[in-house]
Amino acid sequence: MLLSILPQVLVDGLTLGFMYAVVALGYTMVYGILEFINFAHGEIFMVGAFVGTEVLLITDAIGALEGMNPYVALFMTLIITMILTGALGVGIERLAYRPLRGAPRLVPLISAIGVSFLLQDVVRFTEAIARNEFYLNTPVLFSGTVSVFGIATIPIKGLVVIILAIVLMIALTLFIGKTKWGIAMRAVALDPSTASLMTINVDKVIMLTFLIGSSLGGATGVLFAQNYGTIDPYIGFILGMKAFTAAVLGGIGNLRGAMVGGVLLGMLESLAGAYMGPLTNQAFGAEYKDVFAFSILILVLLFKPEGLFGEAVKEKV
């Protein structure tokens, strides 16, 4: 019985893991350039989920969603959400982080925690005024399932999540690797002052980083809403923590690491959720799966702080 659910557990873990991976990219990009944990990134993901849901709800309300091809609807939602959350990320950077560049390291972190709480309540207020409740049900665009080799079923929405996440990751890899701006980003990550001597506008690169990271986070929010149906203003915190764990697991600052770390963490969490209960005679069940994820974070930080793919950094005086 335990083994028979394994394929399903892995498929669920894969869906979850790809979402972690895309959000983790946002953490890792910002960390790679600013060496700063953007605590509010999870909240940007949450805002993305709400923006996407609102776009769909409004489209539905004016009656346009009915006849629309679900893929077109999803594409439209993703584009609108990515533009808005990208702008939000840039705005946050401009107002709450840039003035603090060069301050002691804890100060921008405190500001980021503040932004995170602010966003949660702003979203809650907005929804409370607009809809009188802050739990939203997303119009689900895709129904039906696909069978994988006859041993597991994967809902089409899950498949969409996985494929879109892979597309986004490939696009990002190409952007960073091949374009002029991507090279500029890598240069700034390596050494900001030298990069600025090479006529790279560091401020613009940082803005671009926040733009890309936040739009990816927002896009994941849309995917999350599609996959789970219900959202609330507090989903960003836990998912953000997990995505951060994924980034650390893969080696923070390392893009490929974040992708692998995300998928790995999703798998592990799914496995833990499914098997911890039966293996311990229900003494420790699925309710401990968050504990499990946090424990991974702590263990990685203790024993392999550079992560799976990162380079160990020696501290210089």
């Binding site: 709480f117 309540d121 009188n132 923590m241 702590i298």
Partner: protein, 427 residues
């Protein structure tokens, strides 16, 4: 220009403070249920801090206000005493966190876990809950046990602090913040689920009824008594804070905060010093946790969420991390904002709503503004006042004073030995 005015400002004259205290005590005495005059009395402590007089007089007046005047004029009013003791509880917690964040510079986002440890320690053993896993129907304990449990809570929380600190303190900076946050959540989830396989914490149902403290047969269950208990604990914690600040350990904490590598190369053991900070901060939270449990008579894991940790952090950062008067001010301000001002505002809006002037969705109730208010405060403090409302005073060792001291006739420290040995060689 503004700076110049500030520098020429010597402090508030003593008589202004005294008149302030007198006016507001009388107001509170005659106008029952006047929130403003109650806040006026509490703020007289702040006024006192800036008053231009000697520290002894300040201390005496402060003690007079806290021990005599407030209980005298507000003592019969349960609500004010409740608010005052709640302020006290948060002041005490913030002072504990101040050691970790303010002195040692370790950003701890899971501080409430230690508070929970203390609260659960008292709650489990003072109710019949402990019978679930200890044989022999020894429990519940009576309220007399509250006093020894203050110590037990302190020790339990300190042990928690060391156990958590041992793995966690290997990472630093913003990583430490995330890891402590993770640990805080872990502890809460564990408390929430530890009703099986052995029922230790009774899970999400929480534990009740936790007995009120008892002394010589007097049940001290009203806010009036808790006010004094809290006051006593605060006095103890403030004293400990002051003593720590200028001790060898305290200076080691500050050295670590400023530069870990430099501190290490000066022979400070990083892990031990950080552990000491963690354990000390935790132990204060543990004591306060015991009081909290006895005051609420009911605890469950929802009292120990991340929001609480962030709230206490806001108090420390807003007041001025590392500054004892600042932290007290920050804690009092934030607590009053939460329990008093937002509530008043909320009641006001409700009355408007009832008279049909505005239509307010339930979600917009200002008493739920907590996150918004905390968020804005954190951002603004980080941007505009990173050292807080009352910044910590940096102790400046005056080189001139050292040179003119009687001990500096020759060379100082190791140099004096050098010159001695060289002079003996010459002779």
């Amino acid at each position: 220009m503004a700076n110049l005015v500030w520098k020429s400002f010597k402090g508030i004259p003593l008589y202004v403070t005294l008149i302030w205290i007198a006016v507001f005590s009388l107001l509170l005495h005659f106008l029952d249920k006047s929130v403003l005059s109650f806040l006026g009395i509490l703020s007289s402590i702040v006024l006192l801090y800036f008053t231009n007089t000697s520290n002894k007089i300040k201390l005496a007046i402060g003690a007079l206000v806290l021990i005599v005047i407030i209980p005298l004029v507000a003592g019969e009013n349960r609500y004010y005493m409740e608010v005052a003791s709640q302020v006290g509880i948060y002041v005490a917690m913030a002072l504990g966190l101040n050691i970790v964040v303010g002195f040692a510079g370790l950003l701890d986002l899971g501080y409430v876990a230690f508070f929970a440890a203390g609260a659960y320690a008292y709650a489990i053993f003072s109710t019949s809950q402990a019978n679930e896993f200890i044989a022999g129907n020894l429990f519940p304990l009576s309220g007399d046990w509250f006093w020894p449990f203050l110590i037990v809570g302190l020790i339990v929380a300190a042990i928690f602090g060391i156990l958590l600190g041992l793995p966690v303190l290997r990472v630093k900076g913003d990583y430490l913040a995330i890891v402590t946050l993770g640990f805080g959540e872990i502890i809460r989830i564990v408390f929430n689920n530890l009703d099986k396989p052995i029922n230790i914490t009774n899970g999400p149902q929480g534990i009740t009824p936790i007995p009120a403290p008892e002394l010589f047969g007097i049940k001290m269950g009203t806010p009036f008594y808790f006010y004094f208990i809290v006051l006593f604990i605060i006095a103890f914690i403030v004293l400990a804070n002051i003593r720590f600040e200028h001790s060898r350990l305290g200076r080691a904490w500050i050295a670590i905060r400023e530069d870990e590598l430099a501190a290490q190369s000066m022979g400070i053991s990083l892990l031990n010093t950080k552990l000491a900070a963690f354990a000390t901060g935790a132990s204060f939270a543990g004591v306060v946790g015991v009081i909290f449990a006895a005051k609420q008579t009911f605890i469950d894991p929802t009292s120990f969420t991340l929001m609480e940790s962030i709230g206490i952090l806001v108090m420390v950062i807003l007041g001025g991390s590392g500054s004892i008067p600042g932290v007290i001010l920050g804690a009092a301000f934030v607590t009053l904002l939460q329990v008093q001002l937002l509530k008043e505002f909320s009641n006001f809006l409700h009355s408007l709503q009832q008279s049909g002037i505005i239509n307010l969705p339930n979600q917009l109730d200002p008493s739920k503004f907590q996150r918004l208010v905390f968020g804005i405060m954190l951002i603004f403090v980080a941007l505009y006042r990173p050292n807080g409302l009352i910044p910590a005073k940096r102790k400046t060792n005056d080189l001139g004073a050292i040179k003119s001291s009687p001990f500096s006739s020759g060379k100082l420290g190791i140099l004096s030995k050098l010159s001695q040995s060289s002079s003996t060689k010459q002779s």
